[in-house]
Amino acid sequence: MEHKFHITLYLIVVFIMVIMLVIQGSLLTFFLIGGIIPDLLLIIVVCLAFLWGEKRGMIVGLIGGLLQDVFFGPAIGFFLLAKMVSALLAAMVSREIYRDQIIGPMLTVFFVTFVHEFIVFFLVGFFWGNEINFYFALENMFLPRAIYHFVLTMLFYPLLYRAEQRKFFYPSFK
């Protein structure tokens, strides 16, 4: 089960990602908390990478990043790179932590959010132009978002964990 390539698995992932992207871009923009919109896509990517390990996690990160670049990015690659690295990190961390206790993924999401935002901050600054001061961004963008994601993981991780246990991602058509 672990090493087989499941096309349905990735189709389901694409479907979930698109829904998350549409929700955070069109619906959540009306319900800002502290002027911040959470990156649901990142939470899903990190949680799935946490559950599935490096290889699959990375593919999930690439799918999420590519979709976000297509929808909202001015160029392809900003979120692709950031989400791939985030997934990889989460998968590496998951080897050392119990997967069936929620605090592990919550803390992972919290710290990976900083890494993700830092990569985007750096890439945007280098390729696109960005005048935001790093410490300003750290305090007003990275930290509130990390806290937001930390809390939201309580909602998403159990759902994904249960979906994985019940083989939701591996439907059989017999």
Binding site: V22, G25, L28, V70, A75, I76, L88, W128, M141
Partner: protein, 286 residues
């Protein structure tokens, strides 16, 4: 090793797509076109839920505001008739003087269906695309003023880069003084999100708190005379040589629901709202 190769690949991809990508690929277009109705629907749901709760929480204030606005409308109605008369008169006099009206504009209404949730790019998505005649670089406005310009176009939706993006520079001038040389650059204020700043103003520029800033029409993307915002404070730039001003935008960028795309009408006499690039062949009397 493989990871490093991927990272290098993606870095070069960002470089090439940010420099040379001027339009969506077929696959991107397909995805965006397919999902724009879903985005439109969700954004409507979000808006109505938001307004429902907002209305519930401050019903009293809404009633009061309604009353004030009714009176305001009655006043404005009266003014708009007068303006229409003046516009007609202006048109007639221009014809008599032989001023050429070279380009006119029409306004295409569009709904905002999404906005960049990452905050790194100040972009919104609207529900009109090349099927409706929208093209890259067209100006986007609301009734209150300038919003930004079209950045990418798919079949039924477009991405708009807003003025608050610190990469979006617009040439602007001060409506009150109109002195030559007071043209400054308007860009997003990086530290005060939602505000704009006007930079590169010469030290002798006549600018003060409360002044209205309008687009200058230089640069070709934005028509002249669109309201950008009002000056909040004036100060020296970081080197103490030039002046700069903090500008409160006329448009509320956090609550954009409906916008208009400014479409250029080719060489035709019409009743357009905006005029630019006039050949002012002023004849000296005497």
């Amino acid at each position: 090793m493989g990871i490093l190769a991927l990272i290098i690949l993606f870095l070069s991809m960002i470089f090439f797509t940010s420099e040379y990508r001027t339009r969506y690929t077929f696959a991107e277009d397909l995805v965006l076109t397919g999902l724009s109705p879903v985005q439109g629907f969700l954004s409507k749901v979000g808006l109505s839920t938001f307004t429902f709760f907002q209305g519930m929480f401050d019903y009293g204030r809404v009633l009061e505001e309604n009353e004030v606005l009714r009176k305001e409308i009655a006043k404005r109605d009266n003014q708009s008739y007068q303006l229409l008369e003046l516009q007609k008169e202006n048109h007639r006099l221009r014809e008599m003087l032989g001023f050429k009206i070279r380009v006119e504009y029409s306004l295409l209404p569009a709904e905002v269906i999404a906005r960049d949730p990452s905050h790194w790019f100040e972009t919104i998505t609207i529900n009109k695309g090349y099927a409706d005649g929208v093209e890259k670089d067209m100006a986007v406005v609301t009734a209150s003023g300038l919003v930004g310009n079209v950045f990418f176009v798919s079949r039924n939706s477009s991405q708009v880069l807003m003025l608050t993006d610190s990469r979006r520079a617009v040439s602007a001038l001060i409506q009150r003084s109109r002195e030559p040389g007071t043209i400054g650059i308007i860009e997003g204020s990086p530290e005060q999100t939602g505000f704009l700043r006007m930079i590169n103003l010469p030290p002798e520029a006549n600018i003060q708190k409360g002044d209205t800033i309008i687009s200058s029409g230089l640069g070709g993307v934005f028509p002249k005379g669109l309201v950008i915002g009002h000056v909040l404070e004036v100060g020296k730039d970081q080197y103490g040589l030039l002046q700069q001003a903090l500008v409160h935008p006329a448009v509320n960028f956090n609550r954009l629901e409906e916008v208009f795309i400014v479409i250029e009408l080719p060489f035709e006499e019409g009743q357009g709202l905006f005029e630019v690039e006039e050949d002012e062949e002023e004849e000296n009397e005497g």
